[in-house]
Symmetry: D2
């Protein structure tokens, strides 16, 4: 019997910490509905609000952790992303004067916030401009066995990946490093561009529905995902050049392990037809993707 | 009257050199049909051939230059890509042991070449696997006023960009730095993935049909393009992190200059819906893109 | 009354963790004598020993933490390095096949360990080659308020800095982010080159004598130090290019804050006479230095 | 018979160009006295002068080239730096708002120039502050066989290395890629710090005395030097992390080739006692150094 659990918005975490007691204990295969706060911890809700880092220095609060019974170090945690719904029918963003923004655009970067209603499947940017509502999870992580990462730079445990593919319909696999896996989730976006250039997407508090399952057969170096169209392998590194190369290599090794490719032929083949998705451009995080129809030669 | 010129395969260049006498002198608006050699200078044509860098150390030979009458420093050269046809109905690739490939995949990387026929709009990878023929130009450049770049790392003059968008139907603009612009073209690919991870695409000798026009109104910091769907701005930097940020900033400034956006709002908007295309991942080259339908608010 | 405390080798930590109960509680101004294990946790002690990461995946164990009474967030912890003595009159090193070593030197990098006696102020490398004993602390850190870093990449809290200046006679200042500062120390080297190219110095278990004092007047962005000759400011970043620039900027701001310089003049002056020290070259860590005699104009 | 040649200040070059006719033809072993302009092409000579890049966009003009008879591709050019004398008893500098300077120091970076007299072996910075006159060559290069680099980023041909070791008493070896080697020299500094953080040293027009000799026995991947104390190997790469590692590897291979070391032992040994010198921190250029007394075990 598959059960559904609900985790209401409660204590927020800014660390992916194996020592936090579980907020929820579930069985492999259960569904969880998790409420998440936005990346600003709710500081920007109406016109004139500002992101005040003196009051609240940390970003990207996460809900959790969720303990999945049976998950052991060396396993993978399968995360099926079922739904992502806005909690308050709006999202918000602002531009902050990160040095790279300043050197490109000039130094008069103002702290301007923007509130965008979400309605009829659209995010309303301004009177005459809107975007499709394309929700995704910014931060999703299992707790690593050593170190306690913050919810800023991502790593092999997942974390602040900011990849558009982490959307409803996608199945994500994360490495399990501690008993129970300890899943943390937060930082949902109503829409986000590739590379998230300003570092601030259309941030929203959300209700996230996931189905979690322990996979004893996969042994992962880092996150992987499957969308309707693609397989994707994620890698982080000190810079994008290395992350992109490593992501493609992990994808080639996935094709070797599960689809009977030679890894070098796979790398050469991906050179001809692979695709990429990047997280926040200041980090070194990339996902390398390939169409599922290309992977299986019988198709 | 628009004329069509033909530049057959003749002397090959491995430098983007303002001192090379024009191979062709044309008027603004004329069409040129250019034959180009493949990236290996034809060393890999049949099974068992190898890329031998002792005999031929340089890569990516280009044809040209083409002198466009009326082009002056400060102008832009508009390059409409009309057609890209294979010269010999095949393309080829190989995997070479670049350090980044070795550190990811292991050290037994062999020098294996692969010849792929092109037929019925497909590139035949193997008996049971093929890809759509998706031709693009790897190297397209105007001559810079200082320095003579090789056909390896790209720059603001264009060069070895390896971007999939440089395909039939796309209009590219390049900065003009010397009288006549001096266009060089080569290194066509029958298909290529985003980021070209191994650095060796499906390389082919090709017949490239371009319409070239001098644009006196655009003053460019680097290449720009327009596809059926997108506008794109290209940037190069020592690494991908900087290139991606700069490409988005150039796109934001384009929206400011030509479409009446505020540059900071544009940067924030692109954060929500922009897309990326990368050249060879060892370089720092990126194109930031946005749907044309998003740029014009009246749509 | 200044007291001296002794912290014998006991539990080792691989994390800089604010939640670890103090191993020692001291007053500001007290002296501590700390025993530290080597970077290999003692796995390499005699000919034929190997670094076995399956048994012991983590590196650079630290002793501590030491709680200094009166230290509050926003203060600095002054660490006077009084002595560093080998615990067993030998140090050891080995070469491991890091990808950057392999791509430069070839792929037959063997796992060769080397045991070097320390005697008469020399480290004996081989029968006919020795180096001066030049001890330094590899890892020295205060606990950060958010996140729990491992003892691998360094940060503004210090950590695995691997800077040769952290030697007897040097005074180091570290930011205090939690009550008591919580100092961790380990990974001593009998000698180390600038940039530590292989990542493995002459590692030794050691007895470290420090005098610790709370400094309420300094508010630090990152570590600083004073040697007999120099002032130095430390910075970490994703890469060395950024770390070197930031380290110089922090030094310029130190001259501004404490020595009445204009920060821009200071930056220009440091361009003419500054010096650099790097930690492990795979990280982005640098110290920018200037002769103390240059800083005070009256000299 | 060793002859001395004089090359007065005449045509300046901003490119390292194999196609420029020799300004001087000499025999191997001859001495040359070369006048060089400063990095600003003389734009900053008195109080109130400014570096105006609209009038003169290029930097670091070089004198030359000097054709050394008998130099063939594959040889090395030995450059003994005999003397570097100021042409006008002063040097100058300024601070420009490079993005990395702005993001570290703030955005009000003004364009302030400074003229520093050189007298009695000192550079007079201000009324009460001076530095030792420590002259060096900023740009020294042989012409490469492909591409024509500008006098900005350095490469394996040398170029704008900005290394403090390129000073009187040092012998430098550069790869020869074209007949006659074609040496270019310019951009002398009266003093410079390690990493040249602002990118603008104490720039001076100078009279440089060199002895040039063809070395048929050395086959170099990049520049090398020998100072009174050290051997040094230079490397360039897209970033400093890679340049530092490659420089050490080149030094290890030098010890292998000329001093009978095992390359891996050498790399491990350099890890314990090597030193570093960096050029302008925005580039990826480093020299790895080792004391000559350490290299020869008999000492």
């Amino acid at each position: 019997v598959r059960r559904t659990h609900f985790l209401p918005l409660a204590e927020l975490h800014y660390e992916i910490d194996r020592r936090v007691p579980p907020a929820l204990i579930i069985s492999s295969g259960d569904v969880v509905v998790i409420e998440t706060e936005d990346a600003f911890s709710g500081q920007i809700r109406k016109a004139g609000d500002r992101r005040d880092k003196r009051l609240l220095p940390n970003s990207n609060p996460v809900s959790g952790p969720i303990f999945v019974e049976g998950a052991e170090p060396g396993d993978a945690l399968e995360v099926q992303i079922v739904r992502i719904d806005p909690l308050i029918d709006q999202c918000s963003t602002y531009l902050w004067p990160h040095p790279h923004v300043q050197s490109h655009l000039g130094h008069r970067v103002e702290h301007v916030t923007r509130i965008c209603p979400i309605r009829d499947g659209r995010v309303i940017w301004s009177e005459n401009r809107s975007l499709p509502y394309a929700p995704m999870i910014g931060v999703v992580a299992t707790a690593p066995a050593i170190g306690v990462p913050t919810t800023l730079p991502p790593g092999d445990y997942g974390g602040n990946m900011d990849l558009r593919e982490l959307a409803p319909g996608t199945t994500l696999w994360l490495p399990v490093e501690v008993a129970g896996a300890l899943l943390f989730v937060g930082d949902c976006h109503a829409a986000q561009g590739n590379g998230e250039p300003s570092g601030v997407a259309l941030e929203m508090p959300a209700r996230v529905t996931l189905r979690l399952r322990v996979d004893k057969a996969k042994h992962l170096a880092g996150p992987r995902f499957r969308t309707k169209r693609d397989l994707g392998a994620v890698a982080t590194a000190p810079n994008l050049n290395e992350a992109v190369g490593l992501a493609y290599a992990r994808l080639a090794r996935w094709l070797e392990a599960d689809f009977d490719w030679d890894r070098w032929e796979a790398y050469s083949f991906l050179t001809q037809c692979g695709d990429l998705s990047l997280g926040y451009l200041v980090y070194g995080i990339a996902a390398a993707k390939v169409k599922r129809s290309y992977v299986d030669a019988s198709r």
